[in-house]
């Protein structure tokens, strides 16, 4: 049995670049050591890789770069556990393990010709960045685009240096909110949880695909607000977080109801999961 055919064994990848996003979030630009592998690798926005920090372990991390860019893969990572802590100790040029991509991504095809509403909280913007990049690159394929993005504080917002660029895109509307503003930080936007932005949003249920990712509690409230505004269960897509050990539908940890988050998700249309007993309470 060669290593190649063993789905549990990661490929070696080099850290090309590390960019600091916030206090506890970095973006890592990776390339496979095996150039052929790099060439063959393709993914959809919303999918994730299993990253191995050798000596420490493996964790599922969503991909935050442009799916059309075949030269590199980016992961925007928050330092939250043993593996991500170890990743933060690595330097440019060092090696980690990567296997993937896994799971179902955002419904960019379904969204063609329609409006897109993105509701993101905190690190939840990372898996949605490929959506934004794709919409910008293929602007004519989609109609209105609106982003509601909330974070704990202004300092916790991701990709702020790209906001200017995004603002300028035609038919793009960005709404920002933070839970709190520390004294030393400047903030010109909304204060409050991300759902408070719903009153300012222009998106309507008509011909709109909603994509949301963030803390589960945020998604719950967003969902309630959206349903109350008449959005239906097949136009809302959520990206769920669950514990994963394999990404391959084997270890069992990520199951909710009959779904494996690693393979059937992480992106689900609400219609698909709303009747799962563990999720029913969200409504």
């Amino acid at each position: 049995m060669s290593v190649r055919n063993n789905a549990y064994v990661p490929e070696m990848a080099t850290i090309e670049k590390i960019e600091r996003e916030t206090n506890d979030v970095n973006t890592y630009t990776l390339t496979f050591k095996d150039k052929a592998k790099q060439k063959d690798y393709s993914f959809a926005g919303g999918q994730f890789n299993m990253l191995s920090i050798f000596g420490f372990g493996e964790a599922p991390i969503s991909i935050s770069s442009d799916p059309q860019d075949r030269n590199e893969i980016q992961h925007t990572v928050r330092k939250v556990g043993g593996v991500t802590e170890a990743l933060f100790n690595l330097k440019e040029g060092e090696v980690l393990g990567m296997r993937g991509p896994y799971g179902r991504g955002w419904p960019l095809k379904e969204a063609k010709g329609k409006n897109i509403l993105v509701v993101a909280g905190g690190i939840g913007l990372a898996p949605l960045r490929p959506v934004i990049t794709q919409v910008i690159k293929n602007r004519e394929e989609y109609d209105r685009f609106e982003l509601l993005y909330g974070a704990r504080t202004p300092g916790d917002m991701l990709f702020t240096d790209e906001f200017d660029h995004w603002q300028k895109v035609k038919n793009f509307r960005l709404l920002f909110s933070v839970d709190a503003v520390p004294k030393d930080q400047r903030w010109d936007h909304n204060v409050g949880v991300v759902t408070t932005l719903f009153d300012q949003m222009s998106s309507t249920p008509s011909r709109t695909i909603v994509m949301t990712c963030g803390p589960e509690i945020m998604m719950k409230f967003a969902l309630k607000a959206l349903l109350a505004r008449g959005f239906n269960s097949s136009q809302i897509f959520l990206s769920l977080e669950r514990r994963m050990e394999c990404g391959l539908k084997k270890c069992g940890h990520c199951q909710i109801g009959e779904k494996y988050v690693c393979s059937d998700g992480p992106v689900f249309p609400w219609a698909e999961i709303k009747d799962i007993p563990e999720i029913v309470g969200w409504k």
């Binding site: 000596g55 420490f56 372990g57 043993g82 170890a86």
Partner: protein, 255 residues
């Protein structure tokens, strides 16, 4: 070769069995002890450096006098990673039996002149200072000690099993003596890591490793009762090695 990490091994109130596990009962002790630069280990060496910064501090034993509180705080300040070594440090273990009755009552029984006695309740280490990792066991399990020492070398978080002894017992393919023989096995509420040692050796688990986090003590107590144990016997089972742990308090609380 990078400089070795500094390791300090400190003793509070205990039987020294866990230190002995390092020095004596271990299968790979030479590797373990030479992987670190051991700066403090009174039972193992003469030259011990007080109050120096260490990368890793292992604390054996629990606090039973006020001087130990100060000592422990000093150690915490001087160490990057601090872990308990064994049951006493983790949850005061057997010495917790002293907490069973009002403090004064016990002390008056022991000493006529209380002015020279500094003994206080048996307090586990994590009630005094922040503990990074808890290594349970009486003595500390060799597997988890090894896992800890190896992971601390690189800064990995050790994998300390939080679940019940039953999981390991089943992994070994043992017959469940609680079910098959109605023996009062504490396995279902006891933290794993021993490899289900007692059931493997034909006897019910007696909880020397203390409670597992999600233990359902009342349910097991009820089962014991069904199997013919008296309330008193059940009380003894749940108090022996757990230092009157909160996890068991629904069973052990007699107030």
């Amino acid at each position: 070769m990078a400089e070795k990490k500094k390791l300090g091994i400190f003793k509070l109130t205990s039987c020294a069995g866990c230190q002995m596990r390092l020095l004596y009962y271990q299968h790979r002790e030479l590797e373990a002890l030479t992987a670190y630069d051991i700066t403090y280990f009174k039972m193992g060496k003469r030259d011990n450096l007080e109050n120096i910064k260490v990368d890793v501090a292992l604390i054996e034993g629990c606090v039973t006098n006020s001087e130990q509180i100060d000592e422990l705080k000093r150690i915490r300040e001087n160490s990057t990673i601090l872990a308990t070594l064994g049951g006493c440090a983790t949850r005061s273990s057997l010495w917790g039996l002293k907490n069973n009755k009002p403090e004064k009552e016990i002390e008056e029984k022991a000493y006529k002149d209380l002015s020279t006695i500094h003994s206080i309740k048996a307090i586990p280490v994590n009630d005094v200072v922040k503990v990074d990792y808890l290594l349970p066991g009486c003595p500390v399990g060799e597997d988890e000690m090894t896992e800890f020492l190896q992971s601390a070398l690189v800064g990995r978080r050790p994998f300390i099993k939080p679940h019940s002894v039953c999981v390991e017992c089943k992994m070994k393919g043992n017959l469940c003596i609680l079910v098959a023989k109605k023996e009062p096995c504490m396995g279902p509420v006891t933290a794993a890591g021993c490899g289900a040692l007692c059931p493997t050796n034909g006897r019910p688990c007696y909880n020397c490793r203390g409670p597992m986090i999600a233990a359902n003590a009342p349910a097991l107590a009820k089962e014991f009762k069904k199997n013919g144990l008296s309330d008193e016997e059940i009380y003894l089972k749940f108090t022996a090695f757990s230092g009157l742990s909160k996890v068991y308090e629904e069973v052990t609380d007699r107030a």
